[in-house]
């Protein structure tokens, strides 16, 4: 951790110069060994993802060799095969469940966040903590009643069941995130707008929206990520018509013979939307994961 702490330098002028150079680099900077070490650790950590992508563009025979053959010829036929095997409806179901539930979450969370920050109701912190506490309840404990109710309502294997469940799963996160973004709107600006005679709509459109838009984008991406990746409700409440991408992955490996390259292609394909969303939102990711507690 302390590889580049500058030593009080010995007398020779070259040493002094080196020490000075080190000192300037040290203000927030790190030496080459630090960089090298970090990069090695990073690449080891990233290796499984790289291996997944690499295997996905190999032929089955090259994917299952021992020792591994990373330099085998590249082919994209595995991805084509996935579409032949009908991955499309699964992707559409995943997209529907994630996008519709994210929109629903925003529709509910934005007004709520407004009532918790800009024009706060009394005991608003209590309300915030109520939302948060629902996020801590393990979903598995709700599976049985939800299964019974959904079955009774004839909503098994229906993508809108997932929409409702994902909305409730993400709503607390969205309320907390949006509140923390709306709280950044300076109160003086709002008061000034009021003094200048701006109504509620005008205030929302010209003052709140521009400040809150990045927050809105980050919140949607986080909700999208969690819905897209959800497995437990999807596997227990859907069968054929409403099954989502993770269900495709699990059902996929029951087939015989070599399947590793195709499995890797499928895993890469279904992870791609979230990888893109996550990289796009990475500055705000920590805020969403910690429910707005850490910026």
């Amino acid at each position: 951790m302390t590889t580049v702490v500058d030593q009080p330098s010995t007398a020779t002028p070259t040493n002094q110069r080196r020490a000075r150079r080190r000192r300037t680099r040290e203000i927030g900077g790190a030496g080459p060994w630090w960089a090298l070490g970090t990069w090695i650790v990073t690449l080891i950590f990233f290796a499984p993802v790289a291996w997944m992508v690499l295997t996905s563009v190999h032929r089955e025979a090259d994917a299952a060799t021992n020792p591994p053959s990373p330099f085998a010829p590249i082919t994209f036929s595995n991805y084509g095969d996935l579409f032949d095997r009908g991955v499309r409806p699964y992707l559409i179901n995943s997209a529907t469940a994630s996008i519709v539930s994210t929109l629903l979450v925003l529709l509910l969370a934005v007004p709520a966040a407004y009532a918790l920050s800009i024009k706060p109701v009394e005991k608003w912190t209590d309300v915030m903590f109520f939302f948060l506490s629902t996020k801590f309840l393990p979903p598995i404990a709700a599976l049985l009643p939800i299964y019974l109710i959904v079955k009774d309502a004839g909503m098994l294997d229906n993508v809108f069941t997932l929409v409702i469940l994902y909305t409730s799963m993400n709503l607390p996160i969205a309320v907390w995130m949006m509140r923390s973004f709306l709280a950044e709107v300076p109160i003086e600006v709002l008061e000034a707008a009021q003094v200048d005679g701006a109504g509620l709509i005008r205030t929302l459109v010209s003052i709140v929206t521009p400040i809150a838009t990045p927050g809105l984008a980050a919140t949607s991406l986080i909700c999208f990520i969690f819905s897209w990746n959800e497995f437990m409700f999807a596997v227990n409440l859907t069968a054929v018509r409403a099954a989502t991408a993770p269900i495709f992955l699990v059902g996929f490996i029951s087939s015989q013979g070599l399947f590793l390259a195709k499995l890797c292609a499928a895993a890469t394909l279904v992870s791609l939307p979230v990888l893109i969303a996550g990289f796009a939102a990475q500055d705000k990711l920590v805020r969403g994961l910690s429910l707005g507690a850490v910026k």
Partner: protein, 326 residues
């Protein structure tokens, strides 16, 4: 769980003298979200508690209707809870859950801390390194479980044995060892896959903590000739404490719920060696069809989570107060 919230003294001043009508107008935008959350999250838990007091196995003949949702055999009182605490499968599941959660959280916290410290300094390509490091958290959990099981752990052609074999051959041996990780060491295999997945989560929260350190204090420490280790021990670590607490607690709450990895990598096996509570509840519900027992186990999980969550809420509320008093 609603009673865990801190008091709202902060806003008391601004909201005191309002008419009832005005108050409802303020509450208006909040109500849809609040009502939705109460209906979708609280009602199922009340139903779970109700079912946990019933003898209800759908494979056995039954005549009593439960709210029109199904037919159960008889009222059981607290019998199902007795089963939960005495049944050896469920007890194993409790132990496994604790072992799994504790090892995943501790190991990923430690690795996450090292990574956060490494990334806290500027170096060429820092942004890219951070992006690559959060990738494991973004890969779909089911995909990552399958990746570990088939592409990494597979004894014949998995990457781990493949690399071992390659290294062995490099040193002239005919063939490397063939280790069957998932059958020989099922729990560490699941833990390793989950640690890989959760380390970025820990790293991101800890990195945010490191970067929120006030620069002038670090500067002062440097002027006072504090060594790097001293600075870390006496300035960084105390500052980081609440971030460590937060990531530990949130991590535990999420990792306790692990279902995908168990379902995919080991199916709870061999035997019940890696069956955790969520997976056991799933088996009780959809393999043994013991609804009453499954519900009782669910209530026990909720109770356990509430204990952890109480501490988590305390940490979050202290961070939250700091933020709103700023």
């Amino acid at each position: 769980m609603t009673a865990l919230a801190p008091d709202a003294a902060v806003t008391a001043g601004t909201t005191q003298r309002r008419t009832a009508r005005e108050r409802w107008r303020l509450r208006g935008p909040l109500l849809p979200a609040l009502i939705f959350t109460i209906v979708v999250t609280q009602i199922p838990f009340l139903v779970t508690i109700a079912v946990s007091t019933l003898n209800w196995n759908i494979l056995q003949p039954s005549d009593k209707s439960f709210l029109g949702l199904g037919k159960y055999q008889s009222f059981a009182g607290l019998k199902n809870y007795g089963t939960v605490f005495t049944d050896s499968r469920l007890r194993t599941a409790v132990t496994n859950t604790v072992v799994l959660t504790a090892s995943v959280v501790v190991v990923s916290l430690l690795i996450g801390l090292v990574l956060a410290i490494l990334l806290d300094r500027k170096f060429p390509g820092r942004g890219l390194a951070r992006t690559l490091l959060i990738a494991p958290f973004l890969v779909m959990p089911v995909a990552s479980a399958l990746l570990w099981k088939h592409a990494l752990y597979n004894p014949d052609y998995g990457l781990f044995n493949g690399v071992l074999n390659w290294v062995w051959q490099l040193f002239g041996a005919a063939e490397g060892p063939t280790v069957d990780y998932v059958s020989k060491t099922p729990m560490p295999a699941v833990v390793a896959a989950l640690v890989w997945q959760w380390t970025p989560f820990m790293m991101l929260i800890l990195l945010a903590g490191l970067q929120s350190q006030p620069g002038d204090v670090l500067e002062a420490a440097k002027i006072d000739r504090a060594s790097g280790l001293q600075t870390f021990r006496f300035i960084t670590l105390p500052h980081l404490r609440q971030y460590i607490e937060l990531s530990t607690l949130l991590g535990s709450i999420y990792v306790v719920q692990t279902f995908d990895a168990i379902f995919t990598i080991t199916q709870g096996g061999p035997g019940a060696a890696t069956t955790n509570l969520p997976y056991e509840i799933y088996l009780t519900m959809f393999r043994k069809y013991e609804y009453g027992e499954a519900a009782a186990a669910g209530v026990v999980v909720v109770a356990g989570t509430i204990i952890v969550a109480t501490f988590a809420l305390r940490v979050i509320s202290s961070l939250f107060r700091e933020e709103i008093s700023r």
